[in-house]
């Protein structure tokens, strides 16, 4: 099961849309869980941004026992120290990912709001970060949602679904992880 949690005040319609996209594309159950704390603890005053690495660390401790993955969605502008910003961050082949809607909004670039565009971008970024949690690295096919986007133009230009190769990798990884979770449940293990 993929758990979805908000961190701070987040656009509810966008969260519901992302939940639907994940259920359809990844083919696993999704579940909205209680919000995680607003990432004020991850605020870096010198940058005016929030550390996505600290949000991920916090999310790890909040992974529900019945979930294989947890996606945290925030409106905060997030970063890793080396880079000026990130749209999201995930643990490669791990259970948690964080996604920021801040830079997916046209308003961030001084442009009029565009709801449809926000939702398309949110879908792409959510599928991309969740793909990383299944161990998939960046794809060379620019039509694939797993291709790297380092700016908003690249994000808009890439496709909104997984390519055939990444779909196969995702199916294999989610199948393996599901059966591992099942055997763990049968043996009485817990996270």
């Amino acid at each position: 099961m993929i758990a979805i949690a908000t961190a701070g005040k987040v656009d509810g319609e966008a969260v519901a849309w992302i939940e639907g996209c994940l259920a359809t594309e990844i083919g696993d159950d999704t579940e909205r869980i209680s919000p995680v704390p607003d990432p004020g603890y991850a605020y870096d005053a010198s940058r005016g941004q929030y550390s996505s690495t600290l949000v991920l660390h916090d999310a790890l401790a909040r992974l529900p026992a019945n979930a294989s993955k947890l996606l945290v969605i925030t409106e905060r502008d997030i970063f890793i120290p080396m880079l000026s910003f990130v749209y999201g961050q995930a643990q490669l082949d791990g259970p948690v990912a964080v996604l920021s809607l801040a830079r997916l909004r046209q308003e961030f670039y001084g442009l009029p709001p565009n709801r449809a565009l926000l939702l398309v971008r949110a879908r792409k970024e959510a599928l991309h970060e969740m793909g990383h949690t299944y161990g998939i690295t960046h794809c060379g096919d620019t039509g694939c949602v797993m291709s790297l986007s380092t700016n908003i133009e690249q994000l808009d230009a890439k496709g909104s679904g997984y390519c055939d190769d990444c779909t196969t990798l995702l199916r294999e990884a989610s199948g393996t992880q599901k059966s591992a979770a099942r055997s763990e449940a049968h043996s009485g293990g817990s996270r």
Partner: protein, 455 residues
């Protein structure tokens, strides 16, 4: 292609280190981390990473620049990206001067770092592809350690295959350094005798009596110092091949003895009465024209005809200039490995210099030149400066002029004396410096009445 490349992130701040490592891992690189310069150097000592991201300020101990210098000492090809949050022109200049491939200021735009890494990896992929293609090319043009695409040499390869399994004597003619022994080995190892011994003797290196004993062995007490029976090279080569280098230099008496072995397949040890029978294939080589020696009366015609059943005439290197790039690169790869250096490139200008050189010492001289350049080169690419000695030593069309009133023999003698003095009588070193083999040098020393101590 990314999955082949390993990256090392060196930073004392855990969040910085882990987040960059995670970001690069998402991009498909295999990422390792180190929290200090010391740890990075220890990791680099056991593994060569494609890219090193090194933080400039890392207290305490070794800073980023020192880490980079040590990494580049271990791996001259390493691409080091220096990262800093405190950018100044001075630190950037220092980093680049010391060999940093890039210098980036934290935080940087994701696009910037993605392009930077992509650019480095693209070059690395091209270098790797180039290396693979070059190896394939060398393999394609190789025949038992002889590298050539020259049509005459390719014909010789075919001839070697044809004669390899015959028992006939082969005579290899060619100037010093053209690879006569390599051809002899190729014949031996291509044929039915490959599993049996290949024994090489340089006839020019030994005095007549010593050579006789060397070839045929001696009985105990045959001469002063013969304290026990010794088997000669003919016996040691039983079932295999005996390679007689510089056959043109053997004495008249030895020519008779050798003729007898070739005709009868039998011989006597020096001081012995027992006739010994051997099954040995003889391959002889000479740098002098034996037909002329026969005409001049210094070489027996019957021995010449015995030896000259199959003749292979090796071209001088200047007659197969198209092989020079292939040979030079294959020497760089092999010698760099032997010298414990990383195999680098040869610049276009340096290659032009090599191709244009006259190479009187042929392939051996080229090999020596590559070795000398590799030893003294400081950079990864061997450039014209690394081969500047070729111009000094006498390349084609240089301005050198010989001293007045000296014969060619006198000049040669003086050059040999000077070289032997420089090497303190070390014949091996002197021969290498002169681009000739030891046996040729011994021959010249004999001709000019020198020995190691009186030069």
């Amino acid at each position: 292609m990314k999955k082949h490349w390993e990256v090392l992130v060196v930073d004392d701040e855990p969040v910085m280190r882990e987040s960059l490592a995670a970001w690069l891992a998402e991009d498909g690189y295999s990422v390792d981390t180190a929290e200090s310069g010391r740890e990075a150097i220890a990791k680099a000592a056991v593994k060569d990473y494609a890219i090193y991201f090194v933080d400039l300020k890392m207290p305490p101990g070794i800073d980023g620049i020192e880490t980079m210098m040590e990494v580049r000492r271990l791996h001259p090809d390493a691409s080091v990206i220096i990262m800093t949050a405190y950018a100044t022109v001075d630190t950037a200049i220092t980093a680049m001067k010391e060999g940093a491939q890039e210098y980036i200021v934290k935080p940087c735009n994701p696009e910037e770092i993605s392009l930077l890494v992509g650019r480095i990896i693209k070059v690395k992929n091209l270098q790797r592809e180039n290396l693979i293609l070059r190896k394939k090319l060398t393999k394609h043009y190789s025949f038992h350690d002889i590298v050539s695409k020259n049509p005459r040499m390719v014909e010789i390869f075919e001839l070697i295959k044809d004669v390899a399994s015959l028992k006939s004597t082969v005579l290899i003619q060619g100037a010093s350094g053209t690879g006569k022994e390599l051809v002899a080995r190729a014949i031996h190892f291509s044929g039915d005798r490959a599993a049996r011994p290949f024994v090489a003797v340089s006839c020019a290196a030994l005095a007549e009596s010593l050579l006789e004993s060397e070839l045929f062995g001696h009985e105990r007490g045959a001469f002063t110092g013969a304290v026990e029976r010794k088997r000669g090279k003919f016996e040691l080569a039983e079932g295999g091949t005996l390679f007689l280098d510089e056959i043109g230099d053997i004495s008249a008496k030895l020519q008779v003895d050798l003729l007898r072995v070739l005709q009868e397949r039998t011989f006597f040890r020096v001081g012995g009465n027992e006739e010994l029978r051997v099954d040995v294939r003889v391959i002889a080589a000479t740098r002098v024209n034996l037909e002329e020696a026969v005409a001049a009366g210094s070489f027996r015609d019957d021995l010449f005809y015995r030896l000259n059943v199959i003749t292979i005439q090796l071209p001088a290197l200047r007659e197969r200039r198209e092989d020079i790039p292939l040979l030079a690169r294959s020497f760089v790869e092999r010698l760099a490995h032997e010298l414990g250096k990383e195999a680098g490139e040869i610049s276009e200008g340096a290659m032009r210099l090599l191709v244009d050189n006259e190479w009187p010492g042929n392939v051996r001289e080229l090999e020596n030149a590559v070795e000398r350049a590799l030893v003294t080169s400081k950079g990864h690419v061997l450039d014209e400066d690394d081969f500047a000695f070729l111009r000094r030593d006498g390349g084609r069309g240089n301005g050198w002029s010989p001293p007045d009133n000296l014969s060619l023999d006198e000049i040669e003698k003086q050059v040999i004396v000077a070289t032997l003095n420089r090497t303190r009588g070390n014949v091996k070193e002197a021969a290498a410096a002169l681009g000739i083999d030891r046996s040729t040098l011994y021959d010249r020393m004999k001709r000019y009445g020198m020995n190691r101590v009186n030069v």
